[in-house]
């Protein structure tokens, strides 16, 4: 009886894969779908995004906020994508940005080529 019970529990565990609940998939085109957070980070929040095109080049302004009570360093860079969703320029250099405690600030990205029609923002905390 005990053996049968353990077997059933083991099979159930294997079937569920011990998986942790997956975060909801962001809606296509939403601000969340443009942000790729690399690794766990609790305090940096992407608030709003503005996308414009000036003189043929895509410009992205992103509002970030630090919900922590102390200063946080953030690393970020943009990836610029063409109509087919593939990069149209080489990778950008990672940039370092300090967000003071409870601060809201904007970062800006300018596409390197007029061919860019979409982007991803990569974020990472140390």
């Amino acid at each position: 009886m005990d053996f049968k019970f353990i077997t059933v529990v083991a099979i159930a565990l294997l079937a569920s894969g011990c998986a942790s609940p997956q975060p909801p998939v962001p809606a296509p085109g939403s601000a969340a779908s443009k942000v790729m957070v690399m690794g766990p980070q609790k305090y940096i929040v992407v608030e709003a995004m503005r996308v414009a095109r000036e003189n043929g080049f895509m410009i992205v302004d992103v509002q970030l906020s630090n919900s922590a009570e102390k200063n946080k360093t953030l690393y970020y860079r943009f990836a610029w994508l063409g109509a087919e969703g593939f990069p149209v320029a080489e990778e950008e250099v990672w940039k370092s940005q300090v967000l003071y405690a409870s601060q809201n600030r904007f970062i800006q990205g300018i596409a390197p080529t007029p061919k860019a029609v979409d982007f991803r923002l990569e974020l990472k905390t140390p």
């Binding site: 000036e54 003189n55 990672w94 300018i110 080529t113």
Partner: protein
């Protein structure tokens, strides 16, 4: 039977098991790193500074809309006003490369490469070594509409606990005919080391 099987297993393991399948050769202490990583080995001018300056200046200039109709631009050396040795040619080369990839401008020979261009034209036209039909004619070089020039300066402060370096890179685009600066931008970088 068991001894024979064990022997075969050991030989098979020796033959296949220890083979190195990695496509590397040499010390495992040497690795290739990410060329786009934030470099903080020391607080002297580094690869991240060079890349950030080139990226920031190029994007700002390309997006400004000043360079309409792919004008011809001549790049001058960036003046190094810091106390460090910085190969500023690397900065201008990166800016030039990225602007070329953007396709917003064409470039004539840089001021420091102009002599090589003149020497080559003289060699082709005056030496009598070349077939006439293949010789590049003089008087056909395209003059620059704009020139790009800039400078990098630094303020360094030290205390017993801190070393603070503040870099300021300035770049401007000047209309050769009018002498007017049509575009200008700056990039500031602060690097602090706490001992």
């Amino acid at each position: 039977m068991f001894a024979r099987f064990s022997c075969i297993a050991v030989i098979a393991l020796l033959a296949s098991g220890c083979a190195d399948t990695s496509p590397t050769l040499g010390s495992r202490y040497i690795t290739y790193g990410d060329t786009k990583a934030v470099e903080t080995v020391t607080n002297e001018f580094g690869s991240t500074d060079l890349q950030m300056i080139a990226e920031s200046m190029t994007r700002s200039l390309a997006q400004s809309g000043v360079l309409r109709g792919r004008p011809v631009v001549q790049v001058y050396d960036v003046k190094n006003k810091t106390s460090e040795y910085i190969d500023t040619r690397d900065i201008t080369n990166s800016i030039k490369t990225q602007l070329m990839k953007t396709g917003v401008a064409r470039f004539t020979s840089d001021n420091n490469a102009m002599q090589s261009q003149i020497d080559q034209l003289k060699l082709q036209n005056q030496s009598g070594l070349y077939k006439k039909s293949t010789v590049a004619k003089t008087g056909n070089m395209i003059a620059a509409k704009y020139r790009i020039e800039g400078s990098i300066s630094s303020i360094v402060k030290r205390s017993s606990d801190y070393k603070d370096v503040f870099y300021k890179f300035s770049l401007q685009l000047i209309d050769v005919e009018s002498g007017l600066a049509e575009w200008m931008d700056e990039k500031e970088i602060r690097k602090t080391t706490e001992r």
